[in-house]
Every structure is written in C-alpha cells, then in structure tokens.
C-alpha cells in the first residue's frame, strides 16, 4: 500500500510549492498524527499512575496532572490547526 501511495504522489506532485514546502507540510501532518499517540501515552498507560502516585497531594495532584497535559494537547492541536489552515489558505491564494 505504501508503494501505491508513493506512486500516486509521484504522479500528482503538489503544485506551486517551493522545494521545502511539501516536506514541511508532511512534518506537520506527521505531528498531527502523533498528537493522539502522546495523548494515549499520558492518559491511558501506566505512565499516569507512576507520575501521579509519587505525588503526595492525592486527587488534587492527579487532577492537576491530567488538566495540564490536557491543556498542552489542546494548545498543540490549536497550533497545528492554525498552521495547517494557514498552509491551505496560502495554497488557495497561490492557485
């Protein structure tokens, strides 16, 4: 399947882009795909208990941990969305 995708991207190269643009966009997409994996890592693996169990303040500390990670994830998603949208509008303008 990856072979096919490579092929199709060969056939349909992105237009009106500088040399470094597609790779940058690709990196952003990869980052966007990574974000939920980070989320799962911090929320739904034993990582959450190792970090919070060391915290003596109990539920308050755990809540603080969860809300902080949550806020960071939202912030990251916001950044990515902004960049991706900016990228799209630039593309539209170029076209």
């Amino acid at each position: 399947m990856s072979e096919r995708e490579d092929h199709s991207s060969d056939v349909l190269p992105s237009s009106n882009q500088n040399e470094d643009k597609p790779s940058l966009a690709q990196k952003r997409n990869d980052l966007a795909a990574l974000l939920p994996i980070f989320g799962v890592l911090f929320f739904a693996t034993p990582l959450i208990s190792t970090i919070t169990n060391d915290n003596p303040s109990g539920i308050g500390g755990t809540a603080f941990y969860i809300f902080s990670i949550w806020a960071l994830l939202i912030l990251a998603a916001w950044f990515l969305a902004r960049f991706m949208r900016g990228d799209e509008t630039r593309k539209d303008e170029a076209e």
Partner: protein, 906 residues
C-alpha cells in the same frame, strides 16, 4: 425559592428563543447566506451535543462517588479530536463525497450498499439509544422536581410522569418541525444545528458560572476547595485501572459511533476545514466543561446535608445559597443538554429508520408492481415524523418502566458499549481492503448479542427477559453462562467484562469471517473508494446501465422533488451540450451523480436499490473492476498503453519510411527504364525514318538500292517489334501474369531446342557445348519453351561475349532434395566485378562490348522466367569464365498454390 410557574415560563421563553434561532437559520440557509450559522464555531458547538444531561448533572455525581473517573468520558473524545487527522478527516471526506446520511448508511455503503447491514445497525442504534433518551427525560423531570418539591396538592410520581410526557411531546414537536421540514440532499439541518449551538453556549456558561460561584462564592478560592476534600473522593487506589482505560476507549468509540455524534460530526459538516478548528476547540469545550466538576462535587458534599443527590448538586448548591438566577441558569444548562441530545438523536435515528427500514420495505412491497403514483418524498417525511414520535415514545415508555430502579444510572456507559459494536466494522472498512460484508454482519451481530447478554439485559435487574436468578446464577443455572462471568472469566468490573467479551468476539469474528469470505465486486469498488478516498480525484466507474432519461426523471421527481430534479437535469443537459428543456442522456456519470443525490435523501443502499430497479447492468465485470477499483492501476495501465502506442507508432513510421524509400527507388528505376526504353526505340526508329525519307525523295534509284533500303527498314522494324515484345514479355513476367504451359519434359528436348536456335552462332564461332549424360535424362515439370528461352539467352551470351578462340560451354547437374541445380560455365575471361553488379539490370550496357541487336534485356528476362518457374537464376562468379546457376524445382505445381508466393531469394 423560585416558583415552578416562573421556571416553566422561563423555559417556554427559552424554547421560543430556540425556535426563533432555528427559524432564522433555516431562512438564511434558503438564501444561502448562512454566515455564522455555517461557521466552524457553530460546527464545533454543535458537536457538544456529546455533553448530555447525563454528563452535565451526572459528572458531578460521578465525581462525588468515584473521584476522577468522570474525566475519562471527556478524555476519549479529546483523543479522537486531536487525532482528527487519522480518522475524522477520512470520515468527513467520505461522508461528503458519498452523501452519507448516518452511521448505518456509511457501513452499509462501505460493504457493498448492503441493506442487511443497514437494518442491523439501525436496530442496534435504536436499542442502544432508547434508554439514553429515557435518561435525558429522567434528568429533565429530576431537575423539574427540584423546583416543584413542596408544591402542594400534587403526587410527586404523577408530576414527574407528566413532566416527562410533556417534555417528550415538546421535543418531538420541535424535532419534527425543524428536523423533517424538508428533504435536504445532504441531510443537513441548519435550524436544528444553530439551535443546538446556542444551547451549547448556554450549558457551558451555566456550568462555568456555577463553578466560579462555588470556588469563589461558596469557598474561598481553589486552595480552600482542595482543603475541603472528603475522604470518599480521595484517591484511594491507583488511578490506572482496566476500568479507566476501558472508559477512555468506550467514550472515544462513542464519539464516533453514536448516531447523534455521527450526525453532527459527519452529516451536518458542510466544510472539511471546520474539522481543523473543532480539533482543538471541542477538546477545549470539554476541558472547560470538566474543569469545575470536581470543585462542585467537593463543595456539594461539604455544604449540603448528607443524603442529598449528588447528581443534582449543580442545581441544589445555588438553590441552597439562594442564588435563584444562577439556579435558573444552571437549570437551563441542564435543560439544554437534555433537549439537544434528544433532538439530534431523534433526527439521526429517524433518518436511519426511514431510510434503512421503512423505505426498503416499501421498495420491496412495490417491487412486483411498477410504482407509479407514490411520492417517495412524502413517504419519507411521513415515516420520519412517525419515527421521531415513536422513538420519543419508546424513550418515555422506557423511562416509565424503569424509573425507580437504579438501572438508568449506568445506562449511559452501556449505550456507549452498545454503539461501539459498530467500531470494528467501521475501522476495518476505512483501512482494511479485505474486510467483507459477511465479516461486518457476523462481527456486529456477535458483538451485539454478547453486549445484550453481558451488559444490556442485566441492567434491567431481572425485569426484562433475563430473570434475577439467571443474572446471578447463569441462564438455566449453567454457571459458565453467568452474564458477569462468562465462561468463568471473572473480571471485577462488569463493564470491563462486557467490553472485553463483546468487542473482543466482535473483532475476532469480523476478522475471521472477512478472511474466509470473498468480497463481492461492488464491495471491492466501495472498499477502494473508501480506503483511498484521498488518492482519487474523481473515480469514474464504468458500469454499463440500461435505462431511459424519462424513467430517471420520474424517479428523481419522486425522491428529490420537482424543483431539485429540474435543476439537476437541466445542469446535466447543459454539461452534455443539450438545449434547455431536453432531457440529458442517461450516461454512467449522470446515473452515478443521481444515485449520489438520492443517497443524500434515502441512504446509499436504498438509492442503489432504486436506481438498480430501473437501471439494469448491476453486475460489474472483472474488467470494470480493474478499471474502477484502483486509480493507480488505471494510471499505470494508461501509461503502459501509451507506451505500446508510441512503440507501435514508431514501428509504423519506420515501415512507412522504408516503404517511401522503396517507392522512391522504384520511381527512379521507372524513370531510368523509360529513358532507356525511349533511347533503345529511338535508334531503329531513326534509321527507319532516314531510309524511308530516302525512298520517298530519291526518284532515280536502282531496284537493288530500293530493295536494300527496304530490307533495312524491314530489319529495323523487326528489331523494334522484337524489342517491344521483349519489354512486354518482361513486364508480364515481372507481374507474374505470364501463362505457363507446364508439363513433365525431358531436359534433352529443351536443350535440343536451344541448340537449334543457336546453331548459326555456334557454327560461326566454332563453339563447343558439353552436356553430361545425366542432364540429358533429367525430367522436370516446367515450361519447356520458356526454359529453352533462358538457355538460348545464356548460351548466346556466353558465345557472344567470349574472347576465347574456341568458346567451350560446360553444363553440370546437381540434385538436391526438392530442386536441381544446372551449372553453366564458359571458358571466357568472366565478368568483371563492375559488370557483375549490373548484368541483371534492364538495358544494362556492359562497359566494353555490346553486340548489335541486343537491347540488354536478355538476362533480366531470363531471371524473371526462372523466377516464374519457381526457381532462381544466379551469377555465382568466375571460374575463370562466368558461372551461372539455374536452380529449378523438380515439380512446379505445388508452388503455384496461390497462397505460396514466388520470390527470388538470392
């Protein structure tokens, strides 16, 4: 304390406001000036329909009972949304391109537009959602009861029943008015979505307001709140438990699979770009929704008397603190949560019921007789209205039967698990090419049965189907059938147990059945359309269909209505270059477009069936598949074809070049031949003319002279005639038009004829000819006259051009399998290399000698004769005199077969 009547009035004003918003949005949508109503913000806010009354009130209750567990319900969707690039983007793209109307529609479309699958998922969704709707009604009545407590003269039970009934009726009315106003080809409901967006704002404002009041009004800031934590909330054990992970997973699955969530995320999406805002804004919304849950729970447990229902802390804290306005806002927040969920769920479910159950049933009933007068639109709208009423009625009935039991509290998560049964088929359908309809049907059915047995039925606590003893001791007393410990698998948490069993078996069945069954052609087409949705620009399927435009027009009018149909058909006619008013041709593209439009109204499976009913040509051939299934393969096939074509063109061009060169050569030969012919004819003509002039002009001429001149003229004329005969003969021979008189002849006879003809010449030169005995006795099938002509020519040439005192000509015979070779050698000096090249050319003038009376056609004619006799005449070199080989077949007849060509191959 707020009076019940005031509360009711505010409620009605609020609902009236929602009506206005919905109405305004619908009006703007019609004028295509949606502005705010179709902004990404509205889209994001409408997704907040995820936060129902169960989460609005219940989160605080859950926090008061189980600490941080409530947060999992928000973390799951957060993960799905920040990971929109993986799944949601694909879902929305597919939803928009394929005109998907519901989750059942999506799955059925993916697996070959299967009606069976659509029905199964619809039934599953209705069963899963009905208790959920009942839960909302319960929340509404509970919150009303907070205010009506102490309302004299009323039985509380009757009051709550009445409240629930009125709520159900009111919600049904709103949903019917704005949800089934018309059939949109995209199944979008701008009015409803806008109203829900407003409600989303109300509920988050309400919760934040209560939260702020609790933290800074009731308590003295965050630190004060944290210091009031009760021991029961304190984290007593490790937060990372199977239940924790299961809840995150289930809520993540639910945000995709719940019919109402699918409706707002995929179906109501008008622009894919809105997703990128929702990817962070919706998690932010959830973040804000859960931020104050814990403080409210802590404060509630602290200040309210023991035994107060923690589910109602959001309402009761402001009430006990005499904050009536805040309490009213909190109530409206809960009201918004409940109503928005019920409205969207009713719309989503009614769409599914009418598209996947009512319409196929109607189609099946009218299959035998040609459906003529029935209007599908009316049927659809009516069935949707009835469905909405029925679904809300079911919710109400469920509420009536279960209120009082504790079953409702846990029903939210049970519903999550129920709809999550669709997940394996959904994910498989989007990413796994080999998944099949059979796999999806069996997987979902198996998961559904296990879910019902391990989770859904036990939730009735023995009141429905499963008795209390069956729940605790297993059905018929079989211990391995205990719903909470199936086959002896003991997992403490019943939800985790049910999740592992139902989704595990579901996934395994789905995979195994997909592996052992083969997808039908249409499944393959759909699979590649879904999986490679981002790779394809516009896949053109090449199914050949047989239908007429009139039939399509009638069908379209019945489904899409007159106006839309007119618009669609006119547009298609214009693209096909027809005059307005004319019907477009039923091309494949047009029929597919139409089917997609229908799918927006009635779902993919039904649209496909309806088109299929009037348009034959459903079967997809393997060639079609190869063409449509794989865009890349198409491109490769195309380039390969181009390559072959260009190769062919190159070859053709080369052939043409060669033919052109040959033609030019022939034309040059012809010119040379003509000039030589005219030159050859000119010489005798000149002398004929000269002597004829003398005869005419000279009066006094002796008789001898006259006779001399006349004989010259005569001889020249004969020579001329001879020359012309030769040219004619050559032309005949070259074109193979010569008539051969074939017979088996002894070679001796032919030789004798040649000897006779050359007698004078031989006697004059004293030439000697040696003929071996075996040659004399040779018998071959040939034309004796023609062959002797060749011999005469060769012998006279040999004698004429010989420089020896006494020319000697030797013949030699050699036998081969099918041919004989007659070799003729003379004792002259041979032919010079320069001349050897041209002796077979017409009118070849050998550089040195040139005998009189020879036009230079002898050898070319001889060669042509031998060729016509099926053989070859070759000059093979000097030894030292010239050596000629005549190669002839034993028998010529088989070679004269018209299929066989006679080609000299030297």
């Amino acid at each position: 304390m707020l009076s019940f009547n005031l509360l009711l009035t505010v409620c009605l004003i609020y609902v009236a406001g929602l009506f206005c918003v919905a109405f305004l949005a619908e009006k703007n949508a019609k004028r295509k000036k949606l502005g705010f109503f179709s902004s990404p913000l509205t889209y994001t806010l409408s997704i907040s329909v995820y936060c129902t009354a169960w989460t609005y009130y219940g989160a605080v209750g859950s926090a008061a009972r189980n600490g941080l567990e409530f947060i999992t319900i928000y973390l799951g969707p957060t993960l799905v949304f920040i990971g929109w690039w993986w799944l949601l983007r694909k879902l929305v793209r597919i939803g928009n391109t394929q005109r998907i109307t519901s989750i059942a529609d999506l799955i059925s479309a993916r697996y070959g537009k299967s009606t069976t699958l659509a029905v199964i998922i619809t039934v599953l969704s209705v069963i899963g959602s009905t208790p959920y709707i009942a839960l909302q009604l319960q929340s509404l009545t509970l919150s009303f009861s907070v205010f009506s407590d102490g309302f004299a003269g009323q039985d509380p039970a009757t009051t709550s029943s009445l409240t629930a009934l009125w709520a159900a009726v009111g919600l049904a009315a709103f949903t019917i008015i704005f949800g089934t106003r018309n059939l949109d080809s995209n199944e979008r409901h701008h009015g409803v979505v806008s109203a829900i967006a407003v409600e989303a704002i109300v509920k988050i404002l309400a919760l934040i307001a209560v939260g702020l009041f609790v933290v800074w009004g009731v308590a003295d800031g965050p630190n004060d709140i944290m210091s009031r934590i009760q021991p029961q909330i304190m984290q007593s054990q490790d937060i990372f438990t199977p239940r924790w992970v299961t809840l995150i997973f289930l809520s993540a699955a639910a945000v995709i699979c719940l019919p109402r969530m699918f409706q707002v995320i995929v179906v109501e999406n008008s622009d894919e770009k809105h997703l990128s805002m929702a990817s962070w804004a919706f998690p932010l919304y959830l973040f804000l929704m859960s931020l104050f849950v814990l403080p409210i729970a802590i404060a509630g447990l602290d200040i309210l008397p023991a035994g107060a229902n923690p589910d109602l802390f959001v309402l009761t804290i402001p009430l006990t603190q005499n904050q009536d306005a805040l309490a009213m806002l909190a109530f409206l927040g809960g009201f918004s949560s409940a109503t928005s969920m019920v409205i969207v769920a009713a719309i989503a479910l009614s769409t599914m019921v009418s598209n996947h159950i009512v319409l196929p049933l109607w189609l099946w009933l009218t299959l035998s007789r040609s459906p003529t007068s029935e209007d599908v639109r009316t049927l659809l709208l009516r069935s949707r209205r009835i469905s909405i009423a029925v679904i809300l009625g079911l919710g109400f009935l469920y509420y009536q039967f279960t209120s009082g039991t504790g079953g409702l509290a846990s029903i939210g998560l049970i519903a999550f698990l129920g709809v999550a049964q669709v997940l394996p088929a959904l994910i498989g359908g989007l990413f796994w090419q080999s998944s099949t309809r059979k796999g999806a049907i069996w997987g979902i059915t198996a998961g559904f049965i296990l879910w019902a047995y391990t989770s859904f039925l036990p939730s009735f606590e023995g009141n429905f189907l499963l008795s209390q003893s069956a729940i605790s001791n297993g059905i018929f007393g079989f211990e391995f059938l205990i719903p909470s410990a199936l086959f002896g698998v003991t997992i403490d948490d019943p939800l985790v147990h049910a999740t592992v069993w139902s989704l595990g078996i579901n996934t395994i069945t789905f995979i195994v059945m997909s592996m052992i069954s083969l997808p039908r052609p249409i499944e393959k087409v759909q699979a590649s359309q879904f999986i490679h949705i981002f790779d394809q620009a516009a896949t053109s399927t090449t199914l050949s269909r047989q239908t007429t435009s009139e039939e399509l027009h009638i069908l379209s009018q019945r489904i899409l209505g007159h106006q839309t149909t007119q618009k669609l058909f006119n547009k298609a006619a214009r693209t096909q270059g027809k005059l307005s008013g004319q019907l477009p041709d039923p091309t494949n593209d047009f029929v597919l477009d139409l089917e997609r439009e229908f799918a927006g109204s009635v779902g993919a499976a039904t649209a496909h069936a309806m088109i299929g009913q009037i348009a034959s040509g459903e079967a997809i051939s393997v060639e079609d598949l190869i063409k449509v299934a794989d865009e890349t393969a198409q491109i490769m096939e195309y380039s390969a074809r181009l390559e072959t074509q260009s190769k062919e063109i190159e070859q053709t061009a080369e052939q043409l070049r060669q033919a052109n060169a040959k033609l030019r050569e022939l034309s040059e030969q012809k010119d040379a031949f003509l000039s030589q012919v005219s030159h050859e004819l000119r010489t005798p003509m000149t002398s004929i003319r000269a002597f004829a002039e003398i005869l005419r002009d000279e009066d006094h001429m002796g008789k001898d002279q006259i006779s001399h001149f006349s004989s010259i003229i005569h001889d020249e004329s004969i020579r001329l005639t001879y020359l012309l005969d030769e040219i004619l003969d050559l032309s005949f021979l070259e074109h193979g038009k010569v008539q051969l008189k074939l017979s088996f002849t002894k070679f001796d006879k032919i030789l004798k004829r040649a000897m006779n003809a050359t007698q004078t010449l031989r006697e004059q030169s004293g030439a000697e000819i040696e003929i071996p005995y075996n040659l004399k006795n040779l018998v071959i099938e040939t034309d004796a006259d023609r062959l002797s002509q060749v011999l005469i020519n060769l012998i006279s040439n040999a004698i004429k051009h010989s420089d020896a005192e006494k020319p000697i000509i030797r013949f030699k015979l050699e036998h081969f399998e099918h041919t004989v070779q007659i070799e003729m050698t003379d004792n002259g000096k041979g032919i010079s290399a320069e001349n050897a090249e041209i002796i077979f050319q017409k009118f070849a003038k050998l550089s040195s000698e040139q005998g009189a009376g020879s036009a230079g056609l002898g050898l070319p004619i001889s060669r042509e004769i031998v060729r016509n006799l099926g053989g070859k005449l070759l000059y093979v070199g000097n030894n030292p005199g010239a050596v000629f080989n005549i190669i002839l077949p034993h028998s010529i007849s088989p070679l004269l077969d018209p299929a066989a060509t006679i080609e000299p191959a030297d």
